[in-house]
Amino acid sequence: MKKISRLGNEARLGWTLVAPALIVIGLIAIFPLGWTVWESLHLHELRMPWLGQPFIGLANYVEIANDPRFWGALGHTAFFTVVSISLELLIGLFLALAMNRVFRGRGFVRAAVLVPWAIPTVVAALLWRFIFESEGGIANALLVDAHILRQPMVWFIEAATAWVPVILADVWKTTPFVALLLLAGLQNIDLSLYEAAAVDGANAWWQLRHITLPLLKPAILVTLIFRTLDGFRVFDLIYVLTGGGPGTSTEPVALYTFNALLQNLRFGYGSALSVVIFAITFGLALLYVRGLGVRLGGDEA
């Protein structure tokens, strides 16, 4: 009886301490999410208040299914995510392996690599936009000087070329984060494994393939989850770099939703788009966690 009440005390204390944080998260994250779903089932045009807010069922979702701009945006998002994450994983792995070694200037490399991660995405986007400006852009100047381009190029006028600065900027900005996550995984690998392998006569390549990569798999998967979800949320970078243009040819889903909401003030339709993005992200996360059997460090053994 007494014992139970004391255990109960610990649970009560636990919930009491966690409650404020949970209430905050619930009020400003979970409750709005429910509201989004509710909005998405209504016609709500802030520009046309006389229409009221009639319930229209799944009409917004039907409109999404038949909206070529949405499908385009989804395609752009997927393209952006796949290409940039592949590059980031490759370069990030290299950087992580590098930072895990001892060499002169390692501290400098670690610090330098963190700065792009820490600065505002908006600033990163502006830096790369300036580099690729058609007039005064240093990229054009350098490429012409190196005789790779015959004349300055207008990067942002065609979809194919507009993706170049977008992807470069993302790789530049987020590879450090990827490298850090992978580095943490690398540092968990017992060094004596390498020593044992070296004694057994394994060369560096064999060690990479048969020790590092298999043991790094959990870290790689976690990174993949984080980055995929980030990729599907991409907004700042493209808003600043291309504004989704030319036309809507680089517009990702988040930007399209933002435009529907705050440019066109179509709150019902925009909310439906929000729900779809949420569902996709959630589905992807579930897929990764279930399908790949990733254990995120939730609770200790």
């Binding site: 636990g14 404020p20 005064g136 933002f258 909401l261």
Partner: protein
């Protein structure tokens, strides 16, 4: 047994590998640092020179863009806004988050694992999914274009981040120190204030820095929930810089340098701690 020749060959390979490695690293470093270098150079170059013939080396250094930035542009206002919003959010999240993190890291109660899973799930939320209700909510509370109207939405990502990172780092503080304090006669509150809290100061600092950086850099909410220069944060102000005839690149870059400098300084100074904080709890071996 390997033959001598192949061993020599292997050593040669090893050396070649080393050079390729070093070369690739140098290229990557150049790629990483070049945009910063270029932004600083360009922000100090007169517009005319910049657009006529961009050159990697500055020929003429001027401070005009910076003067304009803090004069006509009133860049002080967005900096102040950002400091207030990011600072308040960080302090509030640390205060509330420390309690939650302590409970999650140290207390034994049912529901801990689901709470952690829930918090992690919220960190993966797409921000855009809650823009519409938050906008309607803030509008009905007349909080659009106010500080609370930014601080509240910032909690959506800052709170889970704070709790998650702090829980991870508190778990790394050996538990037996608090147990020793209990045996020495300390109550739970005393072992928290006298033992754990002093030991967690570095973790709190790291978490605070991380949360602050995330808030300082946030763009979507700040763009959606502010109306004009009065309450715009740094990223929004920079992104919306407009010139009369052309893009005012000189001033934009000056602003970029100004917005980057404090974050870069913080990162360089607290590099090791930030890395620890970022990866605590994120990856388990």
């Amino acid at each position: 047994m390997e033959s001598g020749a192949s061993r020599v060959a292997q050593r040669g390979q090893f050396r070649a590998g080393k050079w390729i490695f070093a070369g690739a690293l140098v290229v990557l470093m150049l790629f990483t640092l070049f945009p910063f270098y270029w932004a600083i150079v360009a922000s100090l170059t007169p517009d005319a020179a910049l657009f006529r013939n961009p050159s990697l080396w500055p020929h003429q250094i001027i401070g005009d863009h910076y003067r304009a930035l803090f004069g006509d542009r009133d860049f002080i206002t967005p900096i102040r806004n950002s400091l207030i919003v990011a600072g308040t959010t960080t302090i509030f999240c640390l205060a509330v988050g420390t309690l939650a993190a302590y409970a999650l890291a140290r207390l034994d109660f049912k529901g801990k694992a689901p709470i952690m899973a829930f918090i992690l799930a919220v960190t993966m939320f797409p921000q855009i999914s809650i823009v519409s209700p938050l906008y309607l909510l803030l509008r009905s509370l007349h909080l659009i274009d106010t500080y609370p109207g930014l601080i509240m939405p910032y909690m959506t990502f800052a709170m889970p981040l704070t709790v998650w990172v702090l829980t991870g780092s508190i778990r790394q503080i050996p538990r037996d120190l608090e147990e020793a304090a209990h045996v020495d006669g300390a109550t739970r509150r005393q072992s928290f204030t006298k033992i754990l809290l002093p030991l967690a100061v570095p973790s709190l600092a790291t978490t605070g820095i991380l949360t602050f950086i995330y808030c300082w850099n946030e763009f979507l909410f700040a763009l959606s929930f502010t109306l004009g220069p009065e309450r715009q944060t740094v990223p929004v102000a920079i992104a919306l810089f407009r010139g009369q005839y052309q893009v005012p690149w000189g001033e934009i870059l000056a602003a970029a340098v100004v917005a980057t400098a404090p974050v870069a300084a913080m990162v360089l100074f607290f590099q090791r701690r930030i890395v620890q904080g970022l990866t605590a709890g994120a990856v388990k071996g």
